[in-house]
């Protein structure tokens, strides 16, 4: 293999893929990255056997071939080089790198040892092209409620599912739940994508990307953004039937300015650190106020109040972290917060008419 490539392109590709080349693996080759010529392009890939990331970059190919080399050393070396062209040449399983006056030889392995990158059936009918903005928002709105408890694997991902012609993303950790409508869909989908995969996809979104192509088959999913491809396994199992958990109507509905709500939640949170984040919300219909109360037995206590539209008096105790996280991903300036008594789940959503998102939180026992 012999080729010339710009430092910028190579560096970007290496930093994108080398993150998942882990050294903590039983198969030593997985800490390497694969370099392979592909027509007039250079393929840079790494995998941890859960996901595989592949970057294609334009290069001047002199002699086709392939090699694998330690990810960390390679990416750190390339990132230290000036922005000039870099010559890569394989001699006897070693990679000779030359850029200006910088010369390196990195010992590699033959590429045959590297796991084959999975391929996906291109003719699969389940595919979507989604605007990067929508994708980013939908994923970040739902991923925060996914669980990281490996004892319940189905909850450690975001559930992509079709329902009445729409594609929804949902995630829950057992204490909160969020759902976001993404696009219309003609095909039936039911797939749980690991959170790590989605985080990796989010990281690979650059300013130039405006569209993301997603392709599902039975056991895997592929994301394609510009010249980056991410293939991941799907989590096996049945996601709980979460729609039945969504409260159909709320006894107490508080319509409130989001910025005010964020502020009083944050202040109450300061006093809730000792009590495990517990804050109590009290809605007063007559006074048209929502007050938040929290106690730090050692340091003092706090009550903050703000104006709000209220349908019925009510009180509920929540973990302020859950509430502020929910508020931070809910769009719109005015939000609607509804609950039914002290122990039923409460629901937060924007008051915008066609809101695509809602967030459910279980209260704390007070």
């Amino acid at each position: 293999m012999e080729l010339i490539v710009t430092q910028e392109k190579l560096n970007r590709a290496l930093s994108a893929v080398s993150r998942i080349a882990s050294i903590k693996t039983q198969l030593p080759i997985l800490s390497n990255i694969l370099l392979r010529t592909d027509g007039t392009r250079l393929l840079v890939a790494a995998t941890n056997l859960e996901i595989a990331i592949t970057q294609y970059i334009g290069a001047k190919i002199i002699k086709p071939g392939s090699i694998t080399i330690p990810a960390r050393l390679m990416s750190e070396f390339i990132s230290s080089l000036p922005k000039e062209s870099v010559e890569l040449k394989v001699v006897n399983d070693n990679l000779h790198i030359k850029s200006g006056s910088y010369n390196s030889i990195i010992n590699g392995f033959i590429a045959d040892e590297f796991p084959e990158l999975p391929t996906i059936n291109e003719s699969s009918s389940i595919q979507y092209s989604i605007k990067v903005e929508d994708f980013k928002q939908a994923v970040s709105q739902t991923i925060i409620t996914a669980s990281n408890d490996s004892a319940r694997p189905v909850l450690t991902g975001v559930y992509w599912n079709s329902h009445q012609g729409q594609l929804y993303l949902a995630a829950t950790d057992g204490y909160r739940l969020s759902e976001r409508r993404l696009v219309e869909t003609k095909s039936e989908v039911s797939a749980i994508i690991p959170t790590q995969t989605l985080q990796e996809v989010l990281r690979n979104i650059t300013e130039e990307s405006d569209q993301i192509d997603i392709l599902f088959d039975e056991t895997q999913v592929r994301f394609r953004i510009n010249d980056t491809e991410i293939i991941s396994r799907l989590i096996d199992g049945n996601f709980p039937d979460y729609r039945q958990l969504v409260p159909s109507a709320s006894e107490t509905v508080i319509t409130i300015n989001k910025a005010d709500f964020v502020r009083i939640t944050k202040i109450a949170g300061l006093f809730a650190r000792e009590s495990g984040g517990s804050i109590t919300l009290t809605a007063d219909k007559k006074k048209k106020t929502l007050s938040v109360h929290s106690i730090a037995s050692q340091m003092g206590e706090n009550t903050s109040e703000t104006d709000a539209e209220i349908t019925n008096d009510g009180q509920i105790t929540l973990n302020y972290r859950y509430l502020s996280e929910a508020l931070s991903v809910t769009d719109g300036d005015i939000v609607e917060f509804g609950f039914n008594g002290k122990i039923a789940p409460c629901i937060l959503k924007s008051t915008k008419t066609n809101t695509d998102y809602y967030h459910i939180i279980m209260p704390l026992k007070s």
Binding site: L27, T119, A151, Y175, T219, G276, T317, N319
Partner: protein, 460 residues
């Protein structure tokens, strides 16, 4: 059939690839069908599928051909059925920010939980063979037995924690497991975990090393925690701390804790003070060596369980000659029964004598009276000469008496001989000393423990 075929393929592949490669790719694979059209192999994930299709296909074909199978084609499918059992295991509840405040309910409590197979009560590690019914009660263990019964009847209420201690093979594990089994019998929904402290230590280390989650919950979400061989926690400070928190959490929530050890809490070296005091706050009971009658009863029951009735003299012979430990007693009985059955002879006293002669006599042969005296002296940090001297200081007298007792009990020396060994002129001193220690062993815990510990060192 398919399974054994696949096993032989795997066996051959294992020899030709590196261990890492084998465990990465071939674990959780299975040959799931074979017919005229070809064969189907299930692999755990998409990466493995591709790897098999491209890298291992030819090799597998060659090995199958050697086994007389030439499939037209091999299909690989991704299947995680092998992992399902793992996924369906008990669902652990997430840690919550505070212990006093917990979410009112799990959102999914009535949906996801009911979908997964109904989790049977976690009988974690209990062996149903150990019950109260087949525990033989004698004067040496009746206190422990009664207390265990009380705990089993109302877990978490009486005697919490209950701490059982005693030498090896005296029935600590049996009693603890019997408590667990009884509680399960009364309320099958009770979550019981039985572990050896070693398991706890190892899991704790894994938890630190691999940042595994759910460690503390695993032991904090139980109703009854049974921990065996607590003495091995000695010197493991971080584990002690973790166990301390687990202990507190359970105790505060009135969950029953059952502990066994070969030493009382205060004799476990390097046990932190706070754990020691906690172990002592419930009930600490020692299980002693079974007396002669109990040993006879045990032999009778064990023999009848094997469908054999032994003559009284045989039983007495065994019970007289094996005093230290019930496991040894059972071993000797089994040996006798097996020997008799093999030879087609009666398991009577003469057979027992012939067979166990070596057990009985093996010990004194390699122990000398000098060793006993030296050991005893060393145990009390004295000089052997001091023990044999004329001095009558208290700190020497007791060790001297113990040495005499051991010479008598271990070597069956005559009293005059014992007197000579210790430089006494009169053998009545020896008689008095042996009697005194025999009595003290029954009454004084300290003496009992010292004698046991010297004896242990002698045979170590």
């Amino acid at each position: 059939m398919l399974h054994s075929l696949w096993q032989s393929v795997l066996g051959e592949i294992e020899l030709s690839v590196s261990h890492a490669t084998f465990t990465t790719w071939f674990k959780n694979t299975e040959l799931i069908s074979q017919n005229d059209a070809g064969i189907v192999i299930s692999v755990p994930n998409i990466f493995a599928k591709k790897q098999f299709e491209v890298k291992f296909n030819d090799q597998i074909k060659t090995i199958l051909a050697k086994n007389g199978i030439n499939p037209k084609q091999i299909n690989y499918i991704v299947s995680t059925t092998g992992k399902h059992t793992r996924l369906n295991r008990e669902t652990t509840v997430e840690p919550t920010a505070s212990s006093s405040l917990s979410p009112a309910d799990d959102l999914l409590s009535n949906s996801s939980r009911s979908q997964s197979a109904p989790t049977p009560a976690v009988t974690g590690g209990l062996n149903p063979r150990y019950t109260f019914d087949n525990f033989i009660v004698g004067s040496s263990n009746d206190l422990a037995y009664t207390a265990s019964r009380a705990v089993a009847a109302s877990p978490g209420v009486k005697y919490n924690p209950i701490y059982l201690y005693g030498g090896v093979g005296l029935g600590k594990t049996h009693l603890m497991q019997a408590i667990g089994n009884e509680i399960i019998k009364n309320d099958p929904k009770t979550r019981i975990v039985y572990i050896s402290i070693e398991t706890f230590v190892n899991e704790f280390l894994d938890h630190i090393r691999f940042k595994k989650k759910g460690f503390s919950d695993k032991y904090r979400n139980v109703d009854v925690l049974i921990v065996d061989d607590m003495q091995f926690i000695a010197g493991k400070e971080k584990t002690q701390e973790e166990f301390f928190h687990t202990f507190n959490h359970l105790h505060q929530n009135n969950k029953q804790i059952i502990i066994s050890s070969d030493k009382p809490p205060k004799s476990i070296p390097t046990l932190t003070e706070r754990l020691r005091s906690r172990f002592e706050m419930g009930m600490a009971i020692d299980i002693q060596m079974p007396d002669f009658e109990t040993r006879c009863a045990i032999l009778n029951i064990k023999a009848s369980l094997s469908g054999v009735t032994l003559k009284q003299d045989t039983i007495e012979y065994l019970a007289t000659n094996i005093k230290t430990n019930i496991r040894e007693l059972e071993g000797a009985l089994n040996q006798l029964l097996a020997y008799a059955e093999m030879r087609g002879i009666e398991p009577d006293i003469s057979t027992a004598e012939g067979l166990l002669g070596n057990i009985r006599h093996s010990r004194p042969q390699h122990i000398s009276s000098k060793q006993i005296i030296d050991r005893t002296a060393k145990h009390f940090q004295l000089d052997a000469n001091e023990i044999c001297s004329e001095k009558r200081d208290k700190y020497i007298v007791v060790p001297r008496q113990i040495a005499m007792y051991l010479l008598r009990s271990e070597l069956h020396l005559s009293f005059p001989k014992i007197a000579i060994e210790l430089g006494r002129k009169d053998h009545t001193t020896a008689i008095h000393s042996v009697e005194k220690i025999e009595k003290a062993i029954k009454l004084d815990f300290l003496i009992r423990e010292q004698v046991a510990s010297i004896r242990e060192k002698l045979y170590a």
